[in-house]
C-alpha cells in the first residue's frame, strides 16, 4: 500500500533539496472536494473544498461548534469511531482517496493526531513512544531504542525524559505530556500531523514550547492545527481557514486572513466581535 509514498518521496526529495527556489511547486498534500459530513441528520460540514499544502502549517479557526475539529478528524478518519457519522465527497491524500483507496490503519499511521487533552497511555515513557512502532511490527530493542530517542529529541523533550524513560508517563506535567504525545505520534513516521487544539489545556510557557516545536517540525511534516487562539494561528501558520457553522468561509495565507480578510464575517471574528 505504501509503495506510492516511496515514489512521492522521490519527488519530494527534489523539492527539499531546493525548497528556496521551488516554492510554487509545493505539492498538495490533501485535496478536499465537496466534503459533507452528517451526525445522524445534522449536517456538520457543508461542501468543504480546500487544498492543504505539503510542509506548511495550516490553521483551522472559528467559534466552537463550527466544524473545525470535525473536519480535522475527517482527515485521518477518526470520525469512523462514531457510528452516527456519514460522509459524502472526497478527500485525497497524495492523490489517493482516503475513504476508498487507502486502508484506515495505514492512513492513521501516516496522518498522526495530537489531541486537545494530553492523553499518554498509563505506561512508561518508553512504552508510550514504542507503542506505534510495535504495532507496526518493530520488536527489536536496539531499533526501538533508536526510534524512542529520535522521536523524543524531535519533540524537544529528550532532555527532560532521558533519565526517567521507564517511569510512568502520567508523572509528567501537562506540557511535558503533550510533547510526549507529539513524540509518540512522530514515532510512527507520519507524513502529516493533525493537532486538535493541542495547547488549550496548557499554561502559557508550555504553550510557547509547543508552538516552537510546531515551527521546527514543519520542516519535515505537513501540519494541520485547530486552534481557538488567533494569536497562535497568526504566529505559527502559513495558511488559515476560517470555519463558521459548518461552512468554510475563507481560506488564504495567514497574512492575508489577518490583515486583509475578504469576508466581513472573517473580519468580525478575527477582530473579536464574536466567537
Amino acid at each position: 500500500m505504501r509503495e506510492y509514498i516511496g515514489d512521492v518521496m522521490g519527488e519530494s526529495n527534489v523539492h527539499s533539496l531546493d525548497t528556496s527556489t521551488a516554492v510554487h511547486s509545493i505539492q498538495d498534500k490533501f485535496i478536499v472536494d465537496k466534503l459533507d459530513l452528517y451526525y445522524g441528520t445534522f449536517k456538520a460540514l457543508k461542501e468543504i473544498s480546500m487544498n492543504i499544502k505539503e510542509s506548511e502549517v495550516t490553521a483551522l479557526i472559528g467559534p466552537s461548534g463550527c466544524g473545525k475539529s470535525t473536519f480535522l478528524k475527517t482527515l485521518n478518519r477518526m470520525n469512523d469511531l462514531d457510528s452516527t457519522v456519514r460522509i459524502e465527497g472526497s478527500v485525497l491524500l497524495d492523490n489517493k482517496n482516503i475513504f476508498t483507496e487507502i486502508d484506515v490503519i495505514n492512513l492513521r499511521q501516516w496522518v498522526g493526531m495530537v489531541f486537545q487533552q494530553p492523553n499518554p497511555f498509563p505506561k512508561s515513557i518508553y512504552d508510550n513512544i514504542a507503542y506505534g512502532p510495535r504495532v507496526q511490527g518493530i520488536t527489536k530493542k536496539a531499533e526501538l531504542d533508536i526510534i524512542v530517542e529520535r522521536s523524543l529529541r524531535q519533540a524537544a523533550i529528550w532532555d527532560e525524559a532521558k533519565d526517567r524513560l521507564h517511569k510512568s508517563a502520567l508523572g509528567m506535567s501537562g506540557g511535558q505530556q503533550q510533547r510526549l504525545c507529539i513524540a509518540r505520534t512522530l514515532a510512527t513516521k507520519p507524513d502529516v500531523i493533525l493537532m486538535d487544539e493541542p495547547t488549550s489545556a496548557l499554561d502559557p510557557i508550555s504553550t510557547l514550547k509547543i508552538e516552537e516545536l510546531v515551527l521546527e517540525l514543519k520542516k519535515d511534516y505537513t501540519i494541520v492545527i485547530v486552534t481557538h487562539n488567533m494569536q497562535q494561528a497568526s504566529r505559527i501558520s502559513d495558511k488559515t481557514a476560517f470555519f463558521l457553522l459548518g461552512d468554510l468561509i475563507e481560506y488564504n495565507t495567514t497574512e492575508e486572513i489577518f490583515t486583509n480578510p475578504k469576508n466581513p464575517k472573517t473580519e468580525e471574528y478575527i477582530t473579536g466581535r464574536f466567537g
Binding site: 509503495e3 509514498i5 518521496m9 523539492h15 527539499s16 490503519i105 504495532v135 507496526q136 511490527g137
Partner: protein, 309 residues
Amino acid sequence: MPNKDNQVLQDTTKAINATILRAKLLDTIMTGVFYVVALFFLVLLIVFATYIIVKGFMDFDISMMAFDHRGIGNQLFNTVYLVILALLISVPLGLLSGIYMAEYAKPGRVTKIIRISIETLSSLPSIVVGLFGYLVFIVMTGSQWNLFAGALAVSILSLPIISTTTEDALKSLPDGYKKGSYGMGATKWQTIRMVLLPACIPQIMTGIILAAGRAFGEAAALMFTAGMSTDINWNSTNLFSSTHPLNPFRPGETLALQIWASRTEAIAENSTQIANLCAAILMIMVFTFSISARYISQHINKKMIGDNK
C-alpha cells in the same frame, strides 16, 4: 518529508505492510471469536431455560401442585411467605443503613468499617449464614426449625443488596435536589423523606426485586433454619398451632430446599419429577423477577426524561 534512503524506506514499508496485514487478519479473527463467545452464552441460556422448563412440565400432573405431602403447593406457599417475611425485616434495615452511608456517614474510620462490614456480608457464603442462623435463632432460642428463623437468615443475605442499591440511588441524584430543598429551609430528614427518597424509589424497587429473587432461590441458608419438612393443616384456625399456614414459627421447607432434598435424600418414587417441577418453577420466577426489575429501571429512565421536558 525527511531525507532518507529510498531503498531502506521501501524495505521498511514492505515489512510494515506485512505486519499490518497480519494485524488486520488477527483483528478479524478475534472479532469473530468474541461474537462466538457472546452467542455461546445466549444459546446456553436458551437451552438451559427450555430444558429446565420442558423437563419440569413433561410429567406434569395436577396432583404435583397439591397443597399436601404429595405436591409442592405447600413449599410454594412457604417460599412466598418466607420471602415476604425476609423483606419485611431486611427492607427497613437496608434502607436505614443505605441512607446512613449516602447522607450521614462522614469519611473516616467508622465509615470504612461499616463499608467493609457491608461488603463482608454481601460476600459471605450462604451456608455460613445458615450455620450462624442455626446457632443463634434455633439452638440459642431453644426452638425447632421454623420459617421465621429462615427469614432472619435470608435477611442477612438480602440486607447488603438493599443497602447498596439505596446508597447508590441516593448518591446518583443530582446535587440540585438537595440544595433546592435546603434552600427552602427544610431539615435534612425532611429533605430525605420528601425529596430524595421519592426520587429514587424505582431504583430501590429494582434492588428489592433482586433481593427477593435471591431469597426465592436460597437453599443453603435455610437447611438448618427453616428446616426440610413442612406440615400445614389448611383448615387450622389456631394461629399458634404448629400446622397453621400463617404461623411463622413452624418448619417451612421451600421450593429450592425441595430440589436439594428430592435429589439427595428423598425416597418417594416421584421425587425426581418433583425436583424437576421445582426447578422449572424457580426458573420461571427468575425470568419474572429479572424482567420486572428491568421494566422498572427502564421506567425510571422514561420518567427522568419526562421530568426534564
